[in-house]
Symmetry: C2
Subunit: 322 residues, 2 copies
């Protein structure tokens, strides 16, 4: 049984086209019914503003699968610690024995989450875009835009954060990193109005984006909501969208944006909702013209964890001498 | 973050009275409503005759809690590997960070499971017993009887296993270990008829003990069933029992012996079922006379994992120099 540290994992796994390929394979397996995906296990510790999630997925026929523990403790920054952390474990599907522990401190989750955003944009955003926007200024705001640059060319990034200082820091950092212009927006409204793709990356518990700001051709990916009380999108957005996509319907109707849309009577069943894997495999269509408004709700699935953990492990064991 | 191996964990945690004390504290916390106990997460891999469970529990106010992964792959013995394995992780309830990984290979589960059996017998078996019986000849058949000897004096052990050779090996080993007489029984019926306490420790999927074998004063603990398809006790046993106890009602009605009794209309609700923690805290009575037939259904709870993992960690960090 091999234990790997974050530093060595970072050497071998990153936001790149290989990661897109494996995450797409995971979503495709899900769409083909080849995945055992138990409901997320969650432990809430509200007195410390924290929660721990356990996710897992078994892709039938593969020799290993992952179990991931990820934590979000939102008082941590006040004591100089990151809010998010976690680890992944790989188990043999033949013997149940632990093959590896990946002490990634949430890094692999950051990558697989950002890559899912890129996959959504790949199939749902217009081919040609000039401006993209991001709501939030944290780690995912960075990774999501970096991943997006793998699938779409764009010149300008609009960023909005409640903390303007953090948004300014984001702008400086990302201009250097991506060589693109980053503009700090005064409001979420301005981000939406100026952008052809918008990604929301916050733990918000009330809608940040209003339906009246939508415009033809816009694609939105909301990746922040992964619990019943979280919500980034006004539920009326789902009545205006031409195409509604999500990672896993059952999960999004319980924890994601779709959950609020259903609760408010905007979506009364799942018949018009498409899963990302169905588009990847070609059984459903993604965007078909430049006028459609498309929305993708991502809650994060165990199948992404299993494929990224397997990939990391393969890279690590083939590249290292033990 | 500290990682411990099975060997060092075994030095500090064992089947002893201290373990009884901490497991009782766990059940008591559960009865007092102080525990967040999410449903078990399970991944079945039927093509390899395997399953992996994830259990957890947060005892409100404590500074750490455990998440446990345990696997049962029942083709393993054919290739020289143990069927059961697993590991526990301790997380800070303040920051969500991983405090420790206990690579116990299922040892702590063996201990906390056996100790729960001892706790059940402590409150539910007659004070004075001469003979006890065990169905099954595996690891738990050993640990359960060892743990039982902490709470009751007895002279003779009856053992039944489908594999007579394994039963004979058990007899030789346990006679030496406990200094008590061990008799290999020809049938489960003989075990039940000769014993005042019977513990079933098998992964059976059909009942091993029939209701017509019960006799006044008998106590049965069934600890094998932890999945919907497993069953060790004829469901009619629950209509003959004077006192029905379990570890957690919600879990036993889904996964344990109680599940089959309910499905067959023997138990139509949970009003006459007592949780072990309610007896420990004194809010419900255990055995009140020597004639009662008592039955305890144990499915294994995350709260046992949290208390034993916390205990192991405390012992390890206070006893070792880093």
């Amino acid at each position: 049984m091999k234990i790997f540290q974050e530093e060595e994992i970072r050497e071998f796994v990153g936001v790149n086209s290989k990661a897109i390929e494996i995450i797409e394979e995971g979503f495709a397996a899900l769409a083909k019914g080849k995945v055992t995906l138990p409901p997320i296990m969650r432990i809430d510790i509200p007195e410390n503003n924290g929660e721990i999630d356990v996710k897992t997925a078994y892709i039938k026929g593969l020799d290993t699968f992952a179990i991931k523990v990820s934590s979000g403790f939102f008082n941590n920054p006040a004591i100089g610690l990151p809010s998010l952390s976690g680890m992944m474990m790989l188990f043999s599907t033949k013997t149940g024995l632990t093959e590896s522990i990946l002490l990634d401190n949430g890094y692999l989750t950051d990558v697989r989450t950002a890559i899912a955003g890129a996959v959504a944009a790949k199939y749902l955003a217009k081919q040609n875009v000039q401006s993209v926007g991001v709501i939030g200024t944290g780690t995912q705001a960075r990774y999501q835009i970096e991943a997006l640059s793998l699938v779409r060319q764009f010149d300008t990034i609009y960023v909005y954060g409640r903390n303007e200082e953090a948004a300014k820091n984001y702008a400086v950092e990302m201009e250097t990193k991506l060589g693109k212009k980053v503009i700090v927006a005064k409001s979420p409204e301005r981000v939406v109005k100026m952008s052809e793709i918008v990604i929301t990356t916050t733990p918000s518990t009330s809608p940040l984006i209003k339906a009246e700001w939508l415009h033809p051709g816009l694609h939105i990916t909301a990746m922040g909501s992964d619990a019943e009380h979280k919500q980034e999108l006004d539920e009326n957005i789902f009545s205006k969208a031409d195409l509604i996509v999500c990672d896993v319907k059952s999960q999004c109707f319980r924890l994601g944006e779709l959950h609020h849309a259903k609760e408010n009577g905007i979506l009364d069943d799942d018949k018009n909702i498409v899963e990302l894997g169905e588009i990847i495999t070609g059984s459903q269509l993604g965007r078909t013209n430049n006028e459609q408004i498309t929305v993708c709700d991502l809650t994060g699935t165990g199948v992404q964890d299993t494929v990224i953990a397997r990939f990391a492990y393969e890279q690590l064991v083939t590249s290292k001498v033990f």
